[in-house]
Amino acid sequence: MKFLHIQNISKSFGQTKIFKHINLELEAGKTLSILGRSGCGKTTMLKTISGLIAPDEGDIFVAGIKINDLSPNLRNIVYLYQEDLLFPHLNVYENIAFGLKLKKMDNEVIDQKVHQMIIDLELEGQGDKMPNQISGGQRQRVSFGRAIIINPKLLLLDEPFGSLDVETRYNMQQLFKRLVAQYNITSLFVTHDLKEAFTMGDTMAYMKNGDLKVYPSKSSFVNDRSTGMQDEISFWNNIKMFDNG
């Protein structure tokens, strides 16, 4: 069994099916990108995996252990929103340290880890600042740091860069890839941006109307017309032809 093994989970709210018979597997330290439009059920799926919503059926295994009955605070699976959700009453340092303080770690150890994380996040000198004193991109970095510093078994990212401008988004993508490699984080990265899905994941999946299709390779994702990748490639090729006259 792979590190993350999701077997046949389904969820409905009343008569409305949100997702059905989701199956996926992921090796430790890898990122699965999930491409999905708004309303396809991806947020509910992520919240189900994190334990914030109970599935109607199916099982979730992490490192070989079934975690269905485990409450969210015991799963060590962090769910990150598109919004950075920094605690407004805590500064950057305290936000990053939050999860470590919950574990009642030694203060010196916390201090060391947080300072290292601040350096990794390229936020030197910002430790004392309050969330409303830093930019959107910086806040998103703090949000990452806060999640990664507690060494989660699994990181669930729900369109984390959706609200950022193009340049900041690119920088965040690079930072994310560097940090997950450095800290060996296993993650599910959900996005509606085709290029981002292709760039961020080691493996890829496509979610539509509550159904998830996991691709064995990136090339199979590219070749599947329903993902939209072919249309995107054609678009850029046409531009190139136009430019060449």
């Binding site: 334990g51 914030l52 919950l102 806060r146």
Partner: protein, 256 residues
Amino acid sequence: MPKFRKVTLLLYVVMIMFPFFYLFLLSLSAEWKFPDLTPNYFGIKNWQQIFSSQSGLGTSFITSLFISFFVALTSTSLGFYVSRYISYHPRRHTMSMLAYFPYVIAPVVFGACMIYFFLKMRLFGTLYGVILAQSFVAFPYALIFFTSFWGEKIQSYEQLVATLGGNVMQGFLKVTLPLAKGMLMICFFQTFLISWFEYGLTSIIGVGKVETLTIKVFLFIKESNFYFGALSCCLLILPPLFLIYLNKRYVFNKIL
């Protein structure tokens, strides 16, 4: 600024300030009969009577403070606790609507219909009876007030704390409570003022035995003792004026 605007604003300011000056002036007066525009006596002898047993104003002031403090404390804390349950409940719309009923029914009518029960509970005409009765109005207010707090954002914070490894108590103490601090303060002072200003319900359930400041105002009106009536009014106005000075939000709140 054009003349018309200046005059209108000046008129507005005068109309606002006039009651305060007049009541204060009246509280410092005696022997002010028709058709005099100024009193024959002007001094502090009325104010010196505040703590005398004859006027009973000092006792009323402290009684009102005690009642209002107690009502505010219980309504705010319980309202905060229960409002979370209502806000996350599938039938929260119906429950919120039900919470409005004690708030919209005239407290005095509500009190009049509750007399029988207060008699049975032996709380009729007692201090604790008045506190309980006022809480029946203040608690729903606090419930309605806090439903705007428990929105998606707070829910997201609670979820985030859970996935970061925090249990419910940790989430409450480290995140929810600090975020709610401002609203808790405002609700406390709002419910304090609901109780502080209350007359009808207090007169029905207290049946004259619990003499709050508002009761005193009425008593002095009945006795045609307008100087002490004005003095009671000044004492009545003091806490809200102080709160407005500290932070206007404590006193002004819109329940949308």
